[in-house]
Structure formats: structure tokens, C-alpha cells
Amino acid sequence: MSIELEHYLVLGALLFAIGLYLALAKRNFVGVLMGIELMFNAVNLTFVAFSRFVSADTDVTGHVFVIFVITVAAAEAAVALALAVVVYRNRETIDVDRMDLLKW
């Protein structure tokens, strides 16, 4: 039995689902961010798997795309964690179910 493209795709789907659950269900804002980073990782893994198995030998488009995704993810993480610190400074909590100023 050898390792095929489908193995990586199913693994990516599992990781994405775990990240989605973390992002939707965790109460702490840092936990939500961990879920988002896990989803980024799952998508990047799928990109690299397609680049390895489907595209031509010299084509690195999938790898370049992953580099850009990692760049944007790093920028997003920096801004999101700064936002978490600001929210904590104002409200003494970063629980997402207690950030309800806009709730009617």
C-alpha cells in the first residue's frame, strides 16, 4: 500500500474540521485564533499535496501560494492578538461570549 493524494486530502479535511470546531466553540479568544491557524495549516497542506501529485515537475505555484498564505496568516495573527490585548485592557476579559456590546 502506498501513500496517495487522497491520504493527504482526508488528513487536510480532518485538520480543517478540528480547526473549525476550535474557532466556533472555544470561549477564549486565543483558542479561537488557534483554530484559525489550524485551518490555515490544513489548507496549506492541501495546496502542497496538490502541487506534489497533480502539477508538472517544475511547477512551484502551489508552494508560492503557500508562502503567501503564511505571510497573510502571520499579519492576521499579529493584528488579532493586538486586538485581544486592547479588548482585555478595556473589559478585563477576552471571552468571546462576553464581548456582547453590539448585541441587542
Binding site: M1, S2, I3, L5, E6, Y8, L9, V10, L11, G12, A13, L15, F16, A17, I18, L20, Y21, L22, A25, K26, R27, N28, F29, V30, G31, L33, M34, L38, N41, L45, V48, S51, R52, V54, S55, D57, T58, V60, T61, V64, V66, I67, F68, I70, V72, A73, A74, A75, A77, A78, L81, A82, L83, A84, V85, E92, T93, I94, D95, D97
Partner: protein, 168 residues
């Protein structure tokens, strides 16, 4: 990939990645969750190596294992009086259902589709090809990524700087 080594490596790394991601969900302490998340990121870096993506694997270790996990730890330590536990909101059951549905659907589609797989040769280093692509075909997104990183850095500094230093 037929040889035994890469098959064993794939299954070990997949178990490490998914196992520590599940442990991030289950563990009660946030600091431990970040440490387990680092393990998961390292497993993904190993999976990149099994896919012959050497440069992406190194970038993964540098950015995710190095930078983003330290950012997460900083965020936990800068919010000392917020709750430390990793508990769920009332949204737990719908989120579980949705995540299961997403995993099931994507897995089913990817197993059902007849992918046209190209036979690849042995390992070739990708760093020089990525460098040429970044400065040739993708030079505009490359420059925009530089601007994006600058804006994100300025935004993060501006957001967390104390109120009285902003006017100067």
C-alpha cells in the same frame, strides 16, 4: 511513494498532527494547548517534507513554530486576569455537528473524485525555483505582501501602545 520509510513517516506524522490537534481541543489549560499546537505545526512541517516541499517546511518551522506560537503565548501572558481555561461556549453542539459535516463532505468528495495524478521523479530542491517565481511571475503579489506586513506591523504597534504616547 512506495517505499516503506515514507509510508511509515506519513502515518506517524499524520497521527502526531491530528492527535495533538485533538489534544488542543481536549486539554483544559491554555498554555498546554499552545504547546500541543506547536507539536501539531511540527507534524505539518514533517508532512511537507514527505511531499518534497523543503522550502515550505522550513518556512513552516520558522513562522508557525517560531513566530506565531510565541505571539499566542504573549497574548495569553498579556491578559493575566482573563480566564485561563480552554472551555467551550454554548455553541459547542452545533460547532461539533458542522465540523463533522465539513470533514465528512470534503473526505467523501476527495475520495470520490478521479484525480489525474502525474508521476513525479525524485526529490529536487525547490528554494531556487520559488525564488525565481516570486521575483518574476509573482512579483506584484510579492511587493503587496511587503506592504501588507508593514501595515500589519504598524497596526499592531498602534493598537497596543498606551494612550498617552499616541499624540506625540
Amino acid at each position: 511513494m512506495e517505499d516503506t520509510g515514507s509510508i511509515v513517516a506519513f502515518w506517524l506524522l499524520a497521527a502526531l498532527t491530528v492527535g495533538s490537534a485533538l489534544a488542543v481541543v481536549a486539554v483544559r489549560d491554555l498554555i498546554r494547548a499552545v504547546v500541543l499546537l506547536i507539536t501539531s505545526f511540527l507534524g505539518v512541517a514533517g508532512l511537507y517534507i514527505t511531499l518534497s516541499a523543503d522550502f515550505v517546511a522550513v518556512v513552516q518551522v520558522l513562522i508557525y513554530v517560531g513566530a506565531i506560537s510565541v505571539l499566542l503565548l504573549f497574548a495569553i501572558m498579556l491578559t493575566p486576569r482573563a480566564s485561563r481555561d480552554n472551555a467551550e461556549t454554548f455553541f459547542q453542539i452545533p460547532a461539533l455537528l458542522l465540523a463533522g459535516l465539513v470533514a465528512f463532505t470534503i473526505s467523501l468528495i476527495s475520495l470520490d473524485t478521479d484525480w489525474t495524478v502525474v508521476e513525479r521523479g525524485g526529490f529536487e530542491e525547490t528554494a531556487s525555483a520559488i525564488g525565481e517565481a516570486l521575483l518574476d511571475k509573482y512579483v506584484l503579489p510579492f511587493e503587496m505582501a511587503a506592504v501588507l506586513l508593514l501595515v500589519a506591523m504598524l497596526g499592531a504597534i498602534l493598537l497596543v501602545s498606551p494612550e498617552d504616547t499616541k499624540e506625540e
